[in-house]
């Protein structure tokens, strides 16, 4: 399973043609206590770098962007009642959506773990 990162602090784990998407520890810490997430609808077509979901913390409302293009096949319903899961486990249990990818080539626009770590150092 390959894991990639975006400069907007989303992570994506790809297995075969299915990508699981969430936000990174860094993003979750920046947001603070998450209180609401507007999960994407099943069947929604998403495009790389366009809004996939909306997230609200006590501090601010924010957009989560699709790291890759495709179709949403599943979203993490647990987050409806327990959005704080994103703070407790952003890169595992706090996953947001699963996407059936339409263009695996788009991964060339993403960072690997090492590149993302370097990116964090510049902030």
């Amino acid at each position: 399973m390959d894991t990639y990162y975006t400069k907007n602090h989303e992570w994506v784990k790809i297995e075969d043609n299915i990508a699981t998407v969430g936000i990174t520890e860094y993003a979750a810490a920046q947001l603070g206590d998450v209180v609401f997430i507007d999960l994407p609808e099943i069947g929604k077509e998403c495009e790389q770098d366009k809004t996939l979901a909306e997230i609200e913390s006590v501090k601010a409302a924010s957009d989560i962007y699709a790291p890759l293009s495709g179709k949403v096949i599943e979203s993490n319903a647990k987050l409806d009642d327990a959005p704080e899961t994103i703070n407790n486990s952003p890169e595992s249990e706090g996953w947001i959506a699963k996407i059936e990818l339409s263009n695996l080539d788009e991964t060339k626009n993403l960072m690997d773990k090492e590149q993302y770590s370097k990116h964090l150092e510049t902030l």
Binding site: G32, D33, V35, F36, E54, E56, V58, K59, A61, P83, E84, N87
Partner: protein, 366 residues
């Protein structure tokens, strides 16, 4: 000229507790230490400690009647019993709120004013202009304030300071501690049983440490404080209260006693007679979405007002907010929409305050 940001007397302590600091009313303040919601919950369930030293304090000494102090503010100072305090306002001639404040009657010729940090200079200047006798001293720079708030507050006060007095809500006592005089007031901004402790700066960190070392006490920041006060529907100067808004529009007319004279009285009387242009409303979202300050309020598609404050309420499990709507809307307004004029839009219901009804504020029925 570069804006000066002031540091609280306990600034280094907050850094030592890993506080995330932010700017508020010209001060560097602790927004939160670990988690906003955890701190909020600890105040509702046990007891939390807040550093509120940024607020302003003035001491007036002299003949209250002859000095013209009575007319300078809305509370009827003459009628306040010794050892008691009252909430009220400094108004302008149009009845607009320059500041909200609490007045403490220390004795028949000694009063303490507690005012908001952002308005401290202007309040002092205006009071000086309005009074013709007596002496008004600004003691803000040498006075710290620590708020102890939560259902366990009374027991902790006994345990930590050995302060055993049973004082009713909106009363206070002066208390000798470590060779200094503290003023301990049964007041607060959270809706829980609690105390505001006024301390000379030089003793503030000692007092803070005594409380923090107690296993039940958690430090809480300004972000948690905002959720606590919003769940009670308490107004915030700068958000719900402005110099273009009167106490009547703000839904605080009950604090005005029209039997005495005060600056702004004529304007308020006129408003009582003719009606208000806007009214304050409280509402809860139909979801967990937060109505944010500046979002618009709609009746279907028609814009009718604006949100002044909002947050997420753990007790209601929804967003909550305060705002103003035009008084010419259908009354009573029940179902509204909230939106940011771009893409966020969600429903909300106008409700009666407080949002949070289980507070321990008057736990002892006192």
């Amino acid at each position: 000229m570069k804006k000066i940001i002031k540091k609280l007397p306990l600034h280094d302590i907050h850094l030592g507790l890993s506080a995330k600091m932010g700017d508020f009313a010209g001060w560097k303040v602790p927004l939160f230490y670990k988690s906003i919601i955890e701190e909020y919950k600890h105040c509702r369930e046990k007891v939390a400690l807040f550093d509120i030293s940024h607020m302003g304090e003035f001491i007036f000494e002299g003949d209250i009647k002859k000095s013209g102090l009575e007319e300078a503010v809305t509370p009827w100072i003459k009628k306040i019993p010794l050892g008691r305090s009252r909430y009220g306002f400094i108004l302008n001639q149009a009845g607009g709120i320059i500041d909200d404040l609490v007045i403490f009657k220390i004795n028949e010729s000694k009063i303490m004013f507690v005012v908001n940090a952002a308005s401290e200079s202007i309040d002092y200047q205006i009071l000086q202009e309005r009074i013709t006798g007596g002496k008004l001293e600004n003691i803000s720079a040498k006075t710290a304030k620590i708020d102890l708030q939560g259902p366990l507050a009374k027991e902790i006060l006994v345990e930590v300071l050995n302060f055993k007095a049973d004082i009713p809500y909106f009363s206070f006592k002066e208390f000798n501690y470590q060779g200094e005089k503290l003023l301990i007031s049964r007041t607060g901004y959270t809706g829980e049983l609690g105390y505001e402790i006024f301390i000379p700066n030089n003793l503030a960190s000692f007092v803070w440490d005594q409380f923090i070392n107690n296993k039940d006490v958690m430090p809480a920041g300004f972000a948690a404080r905002d959720i606590l006060r919003l769940e009670m529907g308490y107004s915030l100067m700068g958000n719900e209260l402005k110099n273009t808004i009167t106490p009547i529009e703000a839904g605080l007319g009950k604090f005005i006693n029209f039997n005495k004279d005060f600056v702004g009285k004529t304007a308020l009387l006129k408003q009582k007679e003719e009606g208000v242009a806007k009214i304050k409303v409280a509402f809860s979202s139909s979801s967990r979405r937060i109505p944010r300050s500046g979002y618009k309020i709609y009746d279907q598609d028609r814009e009718i007002g604006e949100v002044t404050s909002g947050t997420f309420s753990s007790c209601l499990c929804s967003g909550i907010g305060l705002g103003y709507i035009n008084s010419d809307c259908t009354q009573p307004m029940k179902n509204i929409f909230i939106g940011d004029e771009k893409k966020i839009r969600f429903g909300a219901e106008v409700v009666e305050l407080p949002f949070y009804k289980q507070g321990s504020l008057k736990k002892d029925n006192n």
